[in-house]
């Protein structure tokens, strides 16, 4: 048979179905608009757009907002929405990545001990640092350091034990390290019980309203993480057939897994450092996409970014408004949606995971 007589057209389904791309982008746009406009001070769509135009120095466009509203919009709302989008995108992308490299539908961004390590770092910061240095100054770096140390330990233990097959050993090492760090964290917390409230609210996760500082803090990490993972998107599909088979297709399985896991972990640690632990995003977003689109990793990863971003922006809207003027920890919102959803995922069968 001549190559011309076959139809390569029939093999074109490797990318993203356009309809899902647009659905995802539309979802993100709507979330961003809602996140920007909803709050204790109402800002109209037209006013916001005009203000945006003025920021871009469009000719003939003047902002119609007052000084206060202008500040609220650009120094509080927008940076918070952007931060939520970055964190949501990172957690969802990292979740999809972990599920891929460990071939485990339950793998989440906190799998390798990031959460426990970051929790210890944050608890130490809250318990031992003078009040003035806490919060924005030293808590994120300490949380980041704690998360990183935990992952390095996990990797060291996993490597020393499992020479042949990494995936399962690494997960077990992660569980070991996580319980060790959690024990340390509980100890520190118990010795400093007056800080319980503060530690607890960090663990539940919340988005700070600190303007652009946090966005700029995590932007380099999450960008690098996303780029590294996305260039490996085909490799993740190859890894889904198993270590031996991927190796016989010419892939350096160990190195690919290491690079991708490090990228996902760096992104996660950066996100966790500013927002605390926001659970379930990394599990429900990729699984929702799998259930609806049934996607390979080349489609799943970009979609996870878009949908994860939109999801966390919306979750933050709920967190800000449900008990206004009080604020609900965003981790409670994501878990409240996540737990029932997860039950559905389990019922529909783990085959797709």
């Amino acid at each position: 048979m001549e190559a011309a007589s076959v139809r390569p057209r029939s093999l074109s389904s490797r990318g993203l179905p356009p309809v899902w791309v647009w659905t995802g982008v539309a979802f993100l746009l709507v979330s961003v608009v809602v996140g920007t406009l909803v709050g204790p001070i109402e800002i109209g769509v037209a006013d916001a757009l005009r203000s945006f135009g003025a920021k871009l120095h469009l000719p003939g466009v003047e902002s119609t907002l007052g000084q206060t509203e202008e500040t609220i919009l650009w120094e509080l709302r927008v940076p918070r929405v952007v931060l939520a989008a970055l964190v949501g995108a990172t957690l969802a992308l990292a979740g999809a990545t972990y599920q891929g490299v460990f071939r485990n539908p339950l793998a989440d961004p906190y799998l390798l001990g990031v959460a426990a390590g970051a929790g210890l770092g944050a608890t130490v910061a809250i318990a031992y640092l003078p009040r003035g240095l806490r919060g924005q100054e030293l808590l994120p770096p300490l949380a980041f350091a704690g998360g990183s140390v935990a992952v390095v330990l996990t990797y060291a233990i996993g490597r020393s034990v499992g020479r042949e097959r990494d995936a399962a050993t690494l997960v077990l090492a992660g569980v070991t390290v996580a319980s060790f760090f959690t024990a340390l964290q509980s100890f520190v917390q118990q010795r400093n019980s007056e800080t319980l409230q503060e530690v607890y609210s960090w663990i539940l996760g919340s988005l700070p309203s600190s303007g652009w500082a946090d966005v700029l803090l995590i932007l380099p990490y999450v960008t690098v993480a996303a780029v590294v993972i996305l260039v490996h998107r085909r490799v993740l599909d190859v890894l889904s057939v198993g270590d031996d088979e991927a190796a016989s297709l010419g892939v350096n399985v160990r190195r690919a897994r290491l690079v991708v896991v490090v990228a996902a972990t760096v992104g996660t640690a950066a996100a966790v450092a500013v927002t605390g632990l926001i659970g379930f995003v990394g599990i429900i977003v990729p699984h929702a996409i799998r259930l609806v689109v049934g996607a390979n990793y080349r489609a799943l990863l970009p979609l996870s970014i878009v949908v994860g971003a939109g999801f966390l922006v919306l979750a933050d809207v709920v967190a800000r408004t449900a008990l206004a003027p009080a604020e609900l920890p965003i981790g409670i919102v994501t878990a409240f949606v996540g737990a029932p959803f997860f039950a559905i995922v389990l019922r529909t069968g783990r085959g797709r995971g």
Partner: protein
């Protein structure tokens, strides 16, 4: 020059030797069946040739030491059809077959037109074009098996290692699969090394048989040489009768005598 040459090849898991001092030459275009009881080392020997386990001794592929190949070079020469392939249920058949093109792509490259054409040819050869957009999770066992073979074919490798390629299939699908494999081998001049349990089927398709027992070669030759009643009884610890049907060999299990022979001192 033989397609595969093994010299003094041994593999051990920890301190347990699994394959010991194997000497073997596989001719270009041959179908060699590896037979032997469970745990004889068939799969491990295939894994050593595929470089999935470390071994001592020397393995040469088309005259070149296997250790000197890069991963991708090796994958362009040797394809593997595993005993229990992982077939992610969310992948479509064409996506799965396209994975076979991995050794021809740069680290971060996506498939191009040539890869899609190679995959389309493989799909056509295995009569899978109509199932191209179906997800693996919706296929029957026989269809899944063909998809796995198609992926190996898209890999354009001259040497194909098959580990119990038909273990999950019923007798009809076993025949179809083996018939198909033999046709493909003839068309493309492929070299097959296949671990096989069904001795009768193995005798019908392989042109050479190697009987492994406890990691060593116990017999090597044509099916007629290797499928000897005494030899099989000794190495499989089984009671069988070797018959000749229509000029071909059939191995039939025999009931009764075995157990008493074993227990009587």
């Amino acid at each position: 020059m033989s397609a595969i040459a093994l010299r003094d090849v041994s593999v051990s898991y920890g301190r347990t030797p699994v394959v010991t001092e194997i000497e073997l030459d596989v001719a270009e275009g041959a179908w060699l069946a590896l037979i032997g009881p469970n745990g004889a080392g068939k799969t491990t020997l295939l894994r050593a040739i595929a470089r999935h386990v470390s071994f001592t001794g020397e393995i040469r592929l088309r005259g070149r030491a296997s250790g000197s190949f890069s991963r991708r070079e090796l994958a362009r020469l040797v394809a593997v059809v595993p005993q229990q392939p992982s077939t992610p249920p969310w992948l479509t058949v064409s996506e799965y077959v396209l994975l076979g093109r991995t050794p021809y792509l740069g680290a971060f490259e996506q498939e191009g037109r040539r890869d899609r054409e190679a995959a389309a040819r493989a799909l056509e050869r295995l009569d899978l074009l109509e199932l191209a957009d179906r997800r693996l999770g919706t296929l029957s066992g026989g269809e899944l098996q063909r998809a796995v073979v198609a992926r190996a074919l898209a890999q354009d490798a001259a040497i194909v290692l098959l580990d119990e390629p038909t273990a999950a299939l019923d007798i009809g699908h076993q025949q179809q699969a083996l018939e198909l494999l033999d046709t493909l081998r003839g068309e493309a001049g492929l070299t097959f090394v296949a671990a096989m349990h069904d001795l009768t089927l193995a005798a019908q398709y392989a042109d050479r048989m190697v009987l492994l027992d406890q990691g060593r070669i116990a017999a090597d030759g044509s099916p007629a040489d290797v499928l000897d009643e005494a030899l099989l009884e000794r190495h499989y610890d089984a009671s069988v009768q070797v018959l000749e049907l229509d000029g071909r060999i059939a191995v039939v299990p025999r009931r009764g005598s075995r157990r008493s022979a074993h227990t009587t001192p």
